[in-house]
Amino acid sequence: MNIDHSILTILILVPLAGAVLLALLPDKGKLMQWGALAVTLVTFLLTLHLPFHYDYGAASGTFQFATDVPWIASPAIRYHLGVDGLSMWLVVLTGLLAPLGVLVSWRTIDTRKKTFYVLFLLQQVAMLGVFVSLDLLLYYSFWELSLIPMTILIATFGRTENRRRAAIKFFLYAFIPSAILLVGILWLYVKTGTFDLPQLAQLAATHSISNNSAALWLCSLAFLVAFAVKVPVFPLHGWLSDAISEAPTAAVMVLAGKLGLYSILRFSFGIFPEQSHRIAPLMLALGAIGIVYGALLALVQKDLKRLAAYATLSALAFIILGVFSFTISGLDGGIFHILSESLSGAAFFMLLGILYERYGTYDMREYGGLAAKLPWMVTMFVITTLSLVGLPMLNGFVGEFLILSGSMQSTIAQHTAWTVLATTGVILSASYMLWMIQRIFYGNLGIKSENVKGWDLDAREHLAMWPLVILFLVMGVASPIWLRVIDAAGTRIAATQSSSANTEARALQTPPHVQIMTASAHTEAK
């Protein structure tokens, strides 16, 4: 059997089998930790199969490593998996973050390790499933499945008394729009008789999903809102700060952004190119506002986790700005920034987690002057911060630059004004991040830190941090490695968008008298 056709199935099954196995084994702490580490490492190694065997010369728009077998006969749901330039690196990224997540949980999760690791593995299953599913219903199944482990993780391993509320809030925010998303999916199915994404995209390209443009609009909104909440796009971000400030480090690392942004790119843009293009001015505005809004809120936080949450909101809004500009560099930058932001964000949350593990607080006022005692920690913090604020030569810069230049070139209404506003976000993010560094590491020693006995990063923490730091540099310097496949996907999306925009523009721009003339010419010809 050719492994290329089953690799994606194997990728889903390995963590699933791992989760089931861990659930059946006795709850011995060490066993759970090592078991989870082994499973996630194996999964990561398997994900590496993708970039090494990807056919970089293949026509863009084709899915590789595909499996397509019927799952349920009526309605016709297929087990259709595949990756392309958009999803391949996301799969690898999901694979990479999981073992790192296990490493940082090593000491923080001290009770109920079995519950934690089983749920963590299930979360990974759901995320991998989302990224590789090409059947709408299969995709929806994984999408919904991703809510349960995260909810229980937040509810069980949250940090304060507020955790149950945060968990339920997280779930409701995601579930209610998903229910509407399901209506949209069902409506599409009733109209087209298929759940298959490539087929639907084909139908969308030829404008043959439905003639009812109002219904198509509602359906596209059902999709977009469900995804936008998950991203989250301002003003649908109500769940974010609670969920992030409660969730355990490993869960936060995989929590934000990726799923929703990927879904927008894949499904909203794929099935509703015309509607996405029409709604782009609004999304550009929300993106730009989100950047500044998130940054301003981050600036006034005293709680580190909340600061990180709003910083995330701001960074995700950058990606929204990029992809909705519908220029090739905007889309490329957006996709690249999803990867880059996931890595930097993960590193940032990891460091916050490590800090919390030592001092038991996220309150910035209790810190200060740690730099001299914890040289490694401060180094890592500064590198991560610089990557987050987009210093050239580091990963954050590539995405941010492409996004801003893309949105500047865009032809969407008001794009210049929004891009200018968005650019201020770069300055703001530098301010709050550097100020944060200053408050934690410099100045006088805080109350807590008087107890510090040079307990710097230990070997395990180094092991968890270094891969990320190296990736920051490599992604910043050698971005073409990633951009090669990303560009194929970005160009394809931009092409579909511009073709649908052209039809729309033609329809709008053709003056009425020309239309009448053409019509009469047709009649005469007959």
Binding site: I72, A73, S74, P75, A76, T111, R112, T115, L137, Y140, S141, F142, E144, L145, L147, I148, T151, I152, A155, T156, E161, R163, R164, A167, I168, F171, L172, F175, I176, A179, I180, L182, V183, L186, W187, Y189, V190, K191, T192, G193, T194, L203, S208, S210, A215
Partner: protein, 497 residues
Amino acid sequence: MSPNIIALLPEYILTIVGVLIMLAEPLLPPAASRKPLGWLAILGTVAAGVASWYQLHLGVLTAFSNSIQIDSFSIFFHLLISAIVLVTLLISLDYFEGSTRHSGEYFALVAFSAVGMMLMTCATELLVIFVGLEISSIATYIMCGFRKGHATGAESSIKYFLLGSFATAFFLYGIALAFGATGSTSIAAIAQGLATTTTPRLAFLALAMILIGLGFKVSAAPFHVWTPDVYQGAPSPVVGFMSTAPKAAAFAVLLRITFSAFGPMQHRWAILMWILAALSMTIGNLGALLQRDVKRMLAYSSIAHAGYILVAFTAFQSDGIAAACFYTATYAAMQVGAFAVITQVTGYNEQIRTTDDYTGLGLRRPILAAFLALFLISLIGIPFTGGFFGKFYVFSAAIHASNVWLAVIGLLNSGVACFYYLRLLVALYARPVTETAQPAKGRTLSVPAGIGLTLAAAATLVLGILPGHFLNLAQRASASTQPVSAPVAATIPPSTR
């Protein structure tokens, strides 16, 4: 064998078993365990299920002057009811042990009640349906009050009895009016009579009365008021049983009456169903939001689930019946399962009642908590569980019939629903920070109860991962209800439009 015997074979088996149990009960010494009687009932149920399965290969059977019809539709429900009864008996075996001397009757009552329900699902004559309804109802009324010496149990039983009698009276009245309007009480003849009747309004009134009667049985809003009180007071295994099996039977009857007998009037009653469905979903879910008592919460949620099933009635016949059958089955699996867990957690005394009492169950009894979590996830409707495909089929059938807004209401409602299910789910696994971890010893899970739970969980998962085979059965069932003159739409998937 005479067709009259073959057609009602499962019913005969269960009746004989019930009578045997009643006769054997006084012969056992007072202190002796009543478990053997329970095992006898379990054997009988399995035999009844096998008999139904055997009937599946015989094609359509009619008996007793065409008042009984055995087809895929009735066999579907026979099998479903047998399965529910089996799980109920398995989890009840130890429930009454040592608490009451009368547990023998309990097993007989379950069997009798099943006989009535099975009769309802295969009858094509309204009066036979009525007889079946009464047989099953009376047995259930008694079972409700089986926790003797508990005031809430007695209240539950009385309330259910009084309101249930009202409902059956409405049902009977509806039958009488149908007879007046169409000159017959047979389902096939009513359909013909409707074409020629001079009093269509009377016929519609008849249907409305029947709807009230059956609406009560399935606890559809606004006929739902009894549900929370009765469920709260009745013993947990009984609630698991009475919230699924009688409902399945009532839905079967409702499907036959509406689509077969009153099919030509679908454009009129579909509006009623639309309203009932929207009301039930909304009232059920909002009511459940306010509950702290887990049994009351599940009672309200069962009202909501009745609403989801009613959505299927607004669809085309071919989709609608299959979707309703499928949903009924998945609902039965997860609801019986949930109450099976509650039975095990609370025991006979039922001191663990509120959501807060369930806090940390995941720590104290991890296996039971995992089971309950699975059933709750399915009740929410998360994919890879039966609950998801149940909702999926129901709402896609509704959308196919252009009832998009009802689907939107329904799915928004399921968003509300996840709030209260989630509260319980989160309670299972969340542990107060202050509490020191000391797994308290609970009652051990008995083997029969374990088997019952595993059956329900397996059904929930199989329906969610491989729904195809079961849906086939449901579609065969749907095809076997008589075709009517109403416009029948193409089955899903439709051709590209």
